[in-house]
């Protein structure tokens, strides 16, 4: 019975704490598909010669500044977090973010997968 009591208290407390943390997020979040493209070495829409950690965002009413750091993660495991810099604008019909092949692999996926669900925040 003692174990049950402790377990109940711990469970309820955890639920409350989880609820309170869910109210703490401050970043602007953009969810959708993440794809990759061969842009490295080419000039992005923002003028910069693109590097491995540079990415293209889709134009929307919530537009990040040039060079903004984006924190990217995926819905599926292995849930790695990468940081990329917004230096290009994409017209991707089915994606919110386009990253380099190296960045796509750093998220934990082979480029043959092509697309993963996830989000970026900034």
């Amino acid at each position: 019975m003692n174990k049950k009591l402790i377990a109940t208290i711990v469970t309820v407390a955890s639920l409350f704490l989880a609820f309170s943390f869910s109210h703490g997020a401050s970043a602007k979040k953009v969810s959708g598909n993440i794809t990759w493209y061969n842009g490295v070495g080419k000039k992005g829409a923002d003028g910069k010669k693109l590097g491995h950690w540079d990415a293209a965002t889709k134009m929307g009413f919530d537009v990040p500044k040039k060079g903004t750091k984006l924190r990217v993660t995926t819905k599926a495991k292995p849930h790695k977090v990468i940081t990329v810099y917004k230096y290009d604008v994409g017209r991707m019909p089915n994606a919110v973010l386009d990253v380099s092949p190296k960045a796509f692999k750093a998220l934990g996926f082979k480029t043959s997968k092509g697309v993963v669900k996830g989000h970026y925040t900034y």
Binding site: H23, A25, S26, F61, K66, P78, T83
Partner: protein
């Protein structure tokens, strides 16, 4: 002990924990009018707001008065000359990606393009005499950002900071039109890329890049702070003794922002506003003092803010400009509009 007694103890225990957590979560600042769509007519300052609707039309408001609407093509930046009623705004051509500074006389509707370049501009502040615009400026194909000065009469751009370094880059700047004081938030590109490289290899968040704040007096700079945290958007108090900015920390996989103050003389930092259950401070909250210094405006998301979808399918919650009263420690919504989001704002001086 009887089974029923254990159940009573369990229920009391849960109630006590719930009560403790409830009071821990209860904020010190209760927002008034958090969910109403409105501008506060009693506001003591005029806010210059860049608002983008769901069809990607970007409108510049001076308080509740729409000054100009343009299709959004890049991050917008604006400045306003109250005396001459001139709106300065940047426009990026979607095809050429060239950036222009345009001057619109809101009285006569006459518009002039003052400058067009491959370079980019994402922040503008008008000098006290209305003759210069201070810019966060990025030269074409570069990753280095500068503070530059644009002369509205000669249309010439002069880079102010950094003058020589190829590594130092400007994250944000604070400019006070009354005193011409300039404070610059800057960091090392090399350090930033190294930390990103290391973290991306491991699939985790990078260590924060060291942010430096330098007070520029004439041609000389005085380093006033080194901050090993992610910070954004520095801004002066009216007496120039304090800088405020947003600090962002990653906690439990989520970015949490607070508004901090920095004593310009001593470099001492203190927290001014924290997230509450009713107001989420955005990571780019753009905190700015009211002209009388008694309160701070910042960009946030109110509890139960409506989620919008734009024409491209992008979702975002309605953003509100809040006013934090320093003495009363209260938060009040001062500018909010449904049907789009606020991208940036400045306190008109």
């Amino acid at each position: 002990m009887k089974k029923s007694t254990w159940w009573i103890i369990t229920v009391i225990g849960v109630a006590v924990i719930a009560a403790i957590i409830f009071f821990m979560m209860k904020p010190g600042q209760e927002p008034k009018h958090a969910v109403k769509v409105k501008t506060n007519q009693d506001a003591k300052d005029e806010l210059l707001v860049s608002f983008t609707d769901q069809q990607l039309n970007n409108t510049y408001y001076l308080h509740d008065r729409a000054l100009h609407t343009e299709k959004l093509t890049a991050y917008p930046s604006i400045a306003y000359d109250s005396t001459k009623q001139l709106l300065y705004y940047t426009y990026t051509d979607e095809d050429t990606q060239k950036v222009s500074i345009r001057e619109l006389n809101v009285k006569t509707d006459e518009e002039k393009t003052l400058f067009t370049s491959d370079d980019s501009i994402d922040s503008m502040r008008l000098s006290g005499d209305g003759k210069q615009l201070y810019l966060r400026y990025n030269k074409d194909s570069g990753e280095q950002f500068y503070v530059a000065m644009f002369d509205v009469n000669t249309h010439k751009v002069k880079v102010l900071y950094p003058e020589k370094s190829k590594d130092d880059t400007v994250s944000s700047f604070a400019y006070d039109p009354a005193s011409n004081l300039l404070a610059i938030q800057h960091y090392s590109l090399k350090e930033d890329y190294k930390k990103t490289d290391e973290a991306n290899e491991k699939g985790r968040d990078p260590e924060p890049t060291t942010m430096k704040i330098t007070l520029q007096t004439g041609t000389k700079g005085k380093r006033i702070a080194r901050i090993s945290q992610t910070i954004n958007d520095i801004s002066f108090s009216p007496d120039h003794k304090t800088l405020i900015y947003t600090e962002v920390k990653v906690r439990n996989e989520k970015e949490v922002a607070s508004i901090k103050m920095l004593d310009v003389e001593t470099g001492k930092q203190a927290t001014l506003v924290k997230n509450s259950k009713d107001v989420h401070i955005l990571s780019a909250a753009q905190p700015q003092f009211s002209t009388d210094g008694s309160s701070v405006y910042f960009l946030g998301v109110a509890k139960n803010a409506k989620e919008l979808k734009d024409d491209t399918g992008r979702k975002a919650k309605v953003r509100t400009i809040f006013e934090y009263n320093i003495k009363k420690k209260t938060v009040e919504a001062v500018w909010e509009k449904d049907g789009g989001i606020v991208n940036n704002f400045t306190v008109n001086q």
